[in-house]
């Protein structure tokens, strides 16, 4: 009896140690790969989970565009507690994807980060409500319960409210949304934030029909702020200008391919990560395409920084309290020269 117990414990200990070794070595093998094949290692920090929102990078990686430019790209997924600005500033990642308004907030507080390319040309943010609540125009939000993810994602809604004469503190209740759409489905809130390419799709997948839902589009309301952009830190770009231009060239190519065939792009992303259904990835790819290449947009100009849109984002940010002082829009904070170089 005793010896059996001892045997069991020895086996367990060996098992634990090997698992430990596996845990550690998975960390070290990643390191080793950085020096293989003469490729330069670059890490990209996503703002959110691996999904079609970032399909351009996955497509470029799968098609070997980065390798062709001599780059070994590692894509780091985001998460609720991962903040791309901080990851890039810390040096955990070289390049980050974030929302322009959020980046501006960091820049205004002295973080040495530079906006270099604008992937999404339009805002993907919606306020969605069930048709039964009768919210059709922004003015209908008076007295309602509205949810946002906060953490910087609430300013487009603030702008929307103010532009329609509503006071965000007095005329309605704003609550936090937990990254699911359950609060809306459960009728705990009247209107919820949703991205066209993600949460809106989830609502449809949960059985609601388009006719059951009302949506307020930030672009229509004239309060759009720019979202997914690419940024780097001042220190890193100083040493890696050429590398970064090559990264941009490959990424733009990837985005162009992805927008040309969103279904294939959705499949590519699905192959990387199966947590979300293939249908949802393809739905998302199609919606993201509309933001990257809006109707009438020249596909060759993917990543183009429209300074007017940047200015509007900055102005709205200042007006509604995200920024406390006027944003500095010099080349120290917004610099299109790498993009220009890459698309030459």
């Amino acid at each position: 009896m005793k010896s059996v117990k001892k045997l069991v414990s020895i086996v367990l200990i060996i098992g634990l140690v090997t698992m430990l070794g596996a845990g550690c070595s998975s960390g070290t093998t990643k390191k080793e790969s950085s020096s293989t094949g003469g490729l330069q290692k670059v890490t990209l920090q996503l703002k959110w989970l691996p999904q079609s929102q970032f399909m351009g990078y996955y497509v470029a990686k799968e098609k070997g565009y980065y390798e062709a430019e001599g780059i070994d790209l590692e894509i780091l997924p985001g998460g609720s507690d991962i903040i791309p600005e901080q990851q890039v500033s810390n040096g955990v990642a070289d390049i980050g994807v974030t929302w322009l308004s959020s980046l501006m907030k960091y820049q205004s507080q002295g973080w040495d980060l530079i906006d270099t390319a604008q992937i999404f040309q339009k805002s993907g943010m919606l306020l969605v409500s069930k048709a039964s609540t009768g919210i059709v125009t922004p003015a209908d939000l008076r007295g309602k319960k509205v949810s946002s993810w906060f953490g910087g994602n609430e300013y487009e809604i603030y702008a929307l409210l103010e532009a329609n004469g509503l006071n965000k503190d007095k005329d309605l209740t704003m609550v936090q949304q937990d990254y699911t759409m359950n609060q809306l489905i459960n009728n705990d809130v009247d209107a919820a934030s949703a991205m066209t390419y993600n949460e809106y799709g989830l609502l449809l997948e949960s059985g609601l029909k388009e006719s059951d839902l009302n949506k307020i589009d930030m672009n229509d309301a004239g309060v759009a702020m720019m979202e997914d952009c690419l940024f780097v830190s001042k220190d890193w770009i100083a040493d890696n200008e050429d590398l970064y231009v090559r990264f941009l060239r490959a990424s733009i190519k990837g985005w162009a391919d992805a927008c040309a065939d969103p279904t294939a792009a959705g499949k590519t992303v699905y192959n990387v990560d199966q947590s979300v259904s293939l249908d949802h990835q393809i739905y998302m790819a199609n919606e993201v395409k509309k933001l990257v290449e809006p109707a009438g947009f020249d596909a060759a100009k993917i990543g183009y920084i429209d300074m007017n849109a940047v200015q509007q984002t900055a102005d709205l940010s200042l007006k509604y309290g995200l920024l406390t002082q006027k944003a500095d829009l010099s080349t120290a904070t917004v610099n299109p020269k790498y993009w220009e170089e890459a698309t030459k």
Partner: protein, 255 residues
């Protein structure tokens, strides 16, 4: 008396030394941090004093949720331990079930409670209640049952009922364990209350404020809330220790 002074002076001195090193940038130097990544103490203090009103309101929200949840959780945990004491054969299973609750990750628990409760406060209380049950039931069970030899026999010689044995013997005997559990629970409760607020459908509370500030890169603001949370935690911990000292003077751990 001298002992007591030392107990305060040493940690205080150490804390001040660290704060000074932090302020003059020594910590930033060794860890390679920039001031905007980790704000200096004076910046945190100034932010806090400018924002004291809101910080205290948030603190009240979080702490009251934590305390109510802790009270529920500890009570339930204790009752389970008591039931397991009266019905040892069947009751112990309840303890195992309760301890299994402890293995549910907080993030998942917060999301589940979000579904069950619609307000932030009730969700928070729900989360804290669940996480506080196990420590209390385990400790209380130990205290209710690890009696000195012959003490039960003594009760039996005077034909005491199980209930008398419980109130006269088991209850006082488990007090030290109950306090141990409370000390564990106070830290867990505040932590759990803050994490639940990361996901709660409300915009008040320290957890929400910390998350919101840190995501926006308002580091000094975020850290000022962390300071409030830490202070509240230490004060509550101190209160429990004080109550413990007076409630169980007879116990060896107090000498």
């Amino acid at each position: 008396m001298k002992e007591k002074m030392l107990n305060i002076i040493w940690p205080l001195g150490f804390g001040i030394a660290i704060l000074l090193l932090w302020q003059v940038g020594f910590l930033h130097m060794i860890f390679g941090l920039k001031p905007y990544q980790l704000p200096v103490p004076t910046a945190i203090a100034i932010t806090l004093s400018n924002n004291l009103g809101k910080a205290l309101t948030d603190c009240v929200v979080t702490i009251s949720g934590a305390l109510i949840g802790m009270a529920f959780g500890s009570l339930i945990g204790f009752m389970i331990a008591a039931i397991a004491t009266f019905f040892p054969k069947w009751g112990y299973g309840g303890m195992i079930v309760v301890s299994a609750f402890n293995a549910i990750p907080l993030v998942a628990l917060s999301s589940i409670m979000n579904l069950w409760f619609s307000t932030g406060m009730s969700q928070k209380i729900g989360v804290v209640t669940v996480v506080c049950m196990a420590a209390m039931s385990m400790n209380a069970y130990k205290g209710l049952n690890s009696l000195k030899p012959f003490s039960v026999d003594l009760m039996h010689t005077v034909a005491a009922s199980e209930w008398t044995i419980f109130t006269k013997l088991r209850l006082p005997n488990c007090l030290p364990n109950v306090f141990t559990a409370l000390k564990i629970n106070i830290a867990t409760a505040i932590m759990a209350a803050m994490i639940s607020e990361y996901f709660a459908s409300s915009t008040s509370g320290l957890g929400f404020a910390i998350k919101d500030s840190l995501r926006k890169g308002e580091m000094a603001m975020g850290w000022s809330y962390i300071v409030v949370a830490s202070l509240a935690g230490v004060i509550l911990y101190g209160i429990i220790i004080l109550v413990e000292r007076n409630a169980i003077k007879w116990h060896a751990s107090q000498k």
